[in-house]
Symmetry: C2
Subunit: 717 residues, 2 copies
């Protein structure tokens, strides 16, 4: 159903209005733009940072209340505690799914495939609206606080992108909080830069990983990357880091309730394993393979389940979506509460006061060795430590060093299987959902399992199971998302240990290669499922043997003459769904000449405003200034994330239909062209590298008027 | 004199031979290529890492011998010690300048402007040869070991690039150490990828900063970056990190002589200042401004001095270059030995045994508080601590935390002025020379100065002067090199402290902005001076109002007919210096038709081999397979970094001159074309983003045969 998807116009339309505007603007305006750009980068950073802080505080507080209430009650009755726990989760999840279904349907899921698509040049309606932003923020508080097997990191990327886009249009027009002053970035091209900043800010906020954020944005959008943009994006990420750091410092004094010691991903293992031997590379490689296999399986299962959901459940309306989410919530609660109950407790290890680890730890507090449904006082329940806990704390426990033998392999295996299943089932429910944290949970579980075997067999080495958990996490994410550099840097930044970089890379290399043997990354698969046609960075192999002419098919080209009757415009626009049309004029000697490309959206604006209609069918000499004043280029700017006007909405009187329009001032006078027999590989590179939407395939030229080489482009100013 | 510079053909020439070759190769070959690419990435990493280790061990050992010998002797006589010191330095510098002038002239300087040019698409003859590599390695050992005010980091980047390029051509043909097996990357395009890897590997090796290495390569070459390449480049950097780490572990056991505790940049300040207050941002901003000013001044002075040198000294031959370098060496020795002598010693602070800092430290060892020409035993000479030391150790001392009041402002100021002057004078001598380490020296000196004032006036805060030194270093590098993200990450990686990221960024933002107000970055200026025409990533503002036709001038286009007489080819090639020519054929009906572009280098190969000469002036039907076997595409591959054949070398008999050549099989059938009135901004983007060399400016087309949109490029395989 990709037919409904529209591309974005990243190319600058150098029409008459645009050139007029450019001519009026001096160098000063360029400086003004620069200042505004940096100011926006700052704003995006601050807002995204604050949004992240808000989400984290809210989630940690809800989860904190939940766990401390439950723990209080289970001192008396486990049944009552269970009921409270289930209801609390249900309430949060219900609020989340209610918000999403009733108010912001575009905020469901992680949003990363859509943002990826946006940066790749495909518009998905509604993803950058104000309501989506609100839905995303509150929805993910509900879904994460409600204990579902999903994370808040993916949604934060989407949140950052929304914030950036909204700032770019100077606030939301619909809610009347916009300012004309900053409405300088209304073209798709400018908005793309902002969204890139926002996307990096989101990652930076999610993982407190500024460099990772830049690289994440970069990996997704390498085709039109510029170093100036890179610097600005990096600036935004650093601002986020500062904001988050300041907020956390403020919270340390206890002003943020349960937030304080917990919350905000950073699983510092800088005091972990100091060194590794070559013998350890083998089990690490195995972790990579497992990650690749489980990741690919995860992608495949989620693909099936999402397809099935779409075709059998979600089409039945919002009620079904709500019921589904609630059922998943109850299932999750039952499993995470019930399974630890079935587990026998373990006696505490000889306590080492120097390590500062308490066993058993008092209920409702952060740390390892929770005492849950244990008969003796100095026992702990290892399954509860990871299952009956917030995800951040569970991961912290799995990553923790100096806690060898904390977990039994049986508990870890149980957790792995159950959580994997939960993550698969949860994926695709109508709530904001990230896959990072569940992925880290799954990965670190089997990573730690492998680590336990290594500790058993390589006894003499100074091995920490926490290191293996980290590698496991990296491997699963690599096997599922297939990101490379950015993932590697993010893992390094969240573990705050540069020494593991080569190990993480090794594991990622293997898991990505293994995963790639089976299927595509989860974001690509989801994008495909949602009909977002992503253009990969590399042309397909078959394209070498195809020409441009073959690719564009043999259908007749729908084009306009320079001066066209209004009724013809209407009927042509009604008769097809194309968004770009060549405009053909005739030279004095009567030969045809392609004078440019006109966009459907511009034609619609012209039809709606009617000011450009003329009685004569002769071209008005567009040199006269009179013409240009009727439109400024802002009128042609597409509203963010909405379809804009469509031809059916425009009503013209029969007098209007008899008039003419001269298209010359409105067209893009020089779209990129390729000769008909250029190989499709080259066409692809051109199209993708420059972020085009339309490309004319033309006959071979008959003359060469000149050659442009490097020297011709070196103009001194 | 940019006229002599050649561009690189990054575009794939899809001529007949190429297409034949592609057709024969199956999917298996693609996998083979992939494996070889990764294998090369591994090799580049290992070799660059080893080269870096070798250079470092050599430099540290030479410097270690020098200082310990000098210290031994000055216990008896300062005069004798001075003479030994001067002669030792002179010998090393002489060996370096001798190697460069006699053997590898292309290895002088840092090499970064040339590599930047290469990645931008401009070839500088000789920069990637084997002899350049050898000259670079041994030359920089001499120049750095000889105590000149220059660093070994820039040269390492060049070294990495050379290694990559040599591996890519399967070894050096001239020295018969090549293997046909790996000669799969002979096009400019493939070599560019390898050189990118090598460049990143060099940075990673120089600073032990793998992420910084990737970002460095990225910042220089953003135009044609792909995510697959990024992952491979990152892999190479990580391999370098592993190799260097392994070597350093091995050296810790004392097997590497004086290398061990010193050497290899990493000025760990992870135990430095924990926190910073908002009040500190002001002095930090001042550091940024100073950095911008001093950096811009440095660029300007070096520009003048290099120009002057070129016009008045270096044209007089190698003797002058050698004498010059020796004079600079003597000057440096005299200043670095003499100035500390003039300085009064300071009594040691109350020793704090917990801090582990010894005062005065025994001569010839690493650390702060050196006793040099002091009358009392418990005194130290603060100027000698930084001046009479290897640069790495001096920087370590300047960065060191917990040593408040070690330096007097007078000493720092003296050092700043003298070292700045030395760095300016040394720049441009005919030895391999990097600007990173001198820049860090200069920057950290004034940074520490500012830090001293802050300590004085903001007394109560927990301020470390070392932090300010780090910021100063960042600011000077930012003000001089104008790199952004990569510099920031490199500074974070070498100081091993992620917390300073926002501060470093603040300082860089300011210093780059201040510097940009005066002149361009040092690499850009040097590139310009050497006639390397770099295309910036952003088109110039004026280009908006220019068209393609205006840019390429009005000269007649030199073109070839499809079948051309050999004598015509020779005379046309002799008559101009163009490297690309349109080929014009005629349709049946006699209308002209542009059928492609032929490169001078390909014509020369054809002329030299003569196998394609034919007697008839009619086109041979190139469908027959017979034609294709005469050449494989490897024959057309350009040799690395050399001009290849030139028309004057080719001698043809008069019989040959009467024959014909059919150019159809050899031409690039579909070069990119632009219509004559496309704005130069768009042309620029096309040219730069796709890394082109020639672009045809053609008349507006008369028809549109089809439109290519995103949907047409989504081919399933
Ligand atoms: N003006 C046109 N005349 C004839 N065929 C066209 C025209 N524009 C596009 N096409 C063809 O129609 C097919 C569908 O393209 P489509 O009309 O969806 O493009 P678009 O809507 O202009 O751009 P997008 O869908 O990327 O926003 C493509 O294969 C393209 O070759
Ligand atoms: N075949 C040609 N006929 C006419 N003019 C040309 C031709 N090729 C290049 N030019 C023009 O000559 C000028 C110098 O270009 P030059 O000949 O140096 O290009 P080149 O050598 O082919 O490429 P490069 O110098 O980038 O390697 C440019 O302004 C260009 O427009
Ligand atoms: Mg369409
Ligand atoms: Mg030339």
């Amino acid at each position: 159903d990709g037919g409904g998807v529209e591309s974005l116009d990243y190319e600058v339309i150098e029409n008459f209005a645009y050139r007029e505007e450019q001519a009026q603007r001096g160098k000063l305006y360029v400086s003004y733009l620069l200042v505004v750009k940096w100011f926006f980068a700052l704003l995006i950073g601050i807002c995204t940072g604050l949004a992240a802080v808000f989400i984290n505080i809210a989630v940690e507080n809800f989860a904190g209340w939940k766990f401390s209430a439950t723990f209080d009650i289970i001192q008396k009755s486990y049944i009552a505690g269970f009921v409270v726990y289930v209801l609390f989760n249900l309430a949060l999840v219900y609020s989340s799914v209610y918000i999403i279904t009733q108010f912001a349907p575009a905020a469901a899921g992680s949003g990363i495939p859509e943002i990826k698509g946006y940066l790749n040049g495909v518009d998905t309606p509604g993803i950058l609206l104000f309501r989506t932003l609100v839905g995303k923020i509150f929805g993910s508080i509900g879904s994460v606080g409600g204990g579902l097997a999903l994370g808040k990191e993916g949604p934060l990327v989407h949140t950052g992108a929304c914030i950036a886009s909204l700032l770019g249009q100077g606030g939301s027009t619909k809610y009347h909080i916009n300012s004309r002053w900053f409405q300088v970035f209304r073209s798709d091209r400018d908005r793309r830069d902002l969204v890139t900043c926002g996307c990096a800010a989101g990652v930076a906020a999610a993982f407190r990983a500024p460099v990772g954020g830049v690289l994440f944005a970069l990996e997704e959008v390498t085709s039109w990357w510029r170093s100036q943009l890179m610097w600005r994006v990096f600036f935004t990420s650093a601002v986020v880091a500062v904001v988050v750091r300041a907020a956390m410092g403020w919270c340390k004094s206890g002003k943020c309730g349960h937030f304080g010691s917990g919350g905000f991903i950073i699983w510092d293992i800088s005091d972990g394993q100091e060194d590794y031997s070559f013998a350890e590379l083998f089990p690490m490689a195995i972790i990579g393979v497992i990650g690749g296999l489980l990741g690919a399986l995860f992608n495949q299962l989620t693909l099936y389940i999402t397809t099935w959901r779409r075709n059998h459940l979600h089409m039945k309306g919002n009620r079904v979506k709500i019921i589904e989410a609630c059922l998943v919530s109850i299932l999750t609660s039952v499993i995470s509460f019930g399974l630890p109950l079935l587990r026998k407790c373990t006696p505490c290890p000889e306590s080492d006061p120097a390590s500062g680890i308490e066993c058993p730890r008092p209920p409702g507090m952060y740390g390892n060795y929770v005492n849950f449904y244990c008969s003796k006082d100095n026992e702990y329940n290892d399954l509860a430590t990871i299952f009956f806990n917030t995800q951040d704390d569970a991961i912290r426990n799995l990553f923790s060093a100096k806690t060898i033998n904390e977990y039994s392999s049986q508990s870890l295996l149980t957790f792995l299987v159950m959580f994997y299943a939960l993550a698969v089932v949860t994926f695709g429910t109508a709530v904001p959902a990230g896959q990072f944290v569940p992925g880290i949970m799954i990965g670190s579980t089997y990573g730690r399992l492998v680590g336990m075997f290594v500790v058993k067999y390589y006894r003499k080495l100074n091995i920490e199971e926490g290191t293996y958990a980290l590698l496991g996490a990296a491997s699963f994410l690599g096997g599922s998302m297939r990101m490379t550099v950015s993932l590697c840097v993010i893992m390094v930044e969240i573990s705050n240990n540069l020494k593991f970089l080569p190990l993480i890379m090794l594991v990622l290399l293997i898991s990505k290669a293994v995963g790639d043997a089976f299927n595509e990354g989860i974001y690509e698969e989801q994008a495909q499922l949602r009909g977002i046609p992503l253009l990969e960075s590399r042309p397909k192999y078959e394209m070498r043997n195809m020409t441009a002419k073959e690719a564009c098919g043999s259908g007749r080209v729908v084009s306009f003459p320079r001066v066209v009757k209004v009724s013809d415009v209407v009927s042509i626009l009604r008769s097809n769904k194309h968004n770009g049309f060549p405009v053909i004029d005739h030279t004095r000697s009567g030969e045809p000449l392609v004078i440019g490309l006109v966009l459907r959206s511009h034609l619609l604006v012209i039809l709606q405003s009617k000011v450009d209609f003329q009685h004569s069918h002769l071209p008005s000499d567009s040199r006269g200034g009179a013409r240009s004043i009727r439109h400024d280029s802002g009128e042609f700017a597409k509203p963010v994330s909405s379809k804009g006007i469509c031809i059916e909405d425009i009503h013209l009187s029969s007098d209007d239909l008899e008039m003419y329009i001269d298209l010359a001032p409105f067209l893009n006078p020089s779209p990129y062209i390729v000769p008909e027999d250029m190989s499709l590989t080259k066409v692809y590179n051109l199209f993708r590298q420059l972020g085009l939407r339309h490309l004319f395939v033309v006959p071979r030229p008959s003359r060469v008027l000149g050659l442009i080489t490097r020297k011709d482009l070196l103009i001194e100013d």
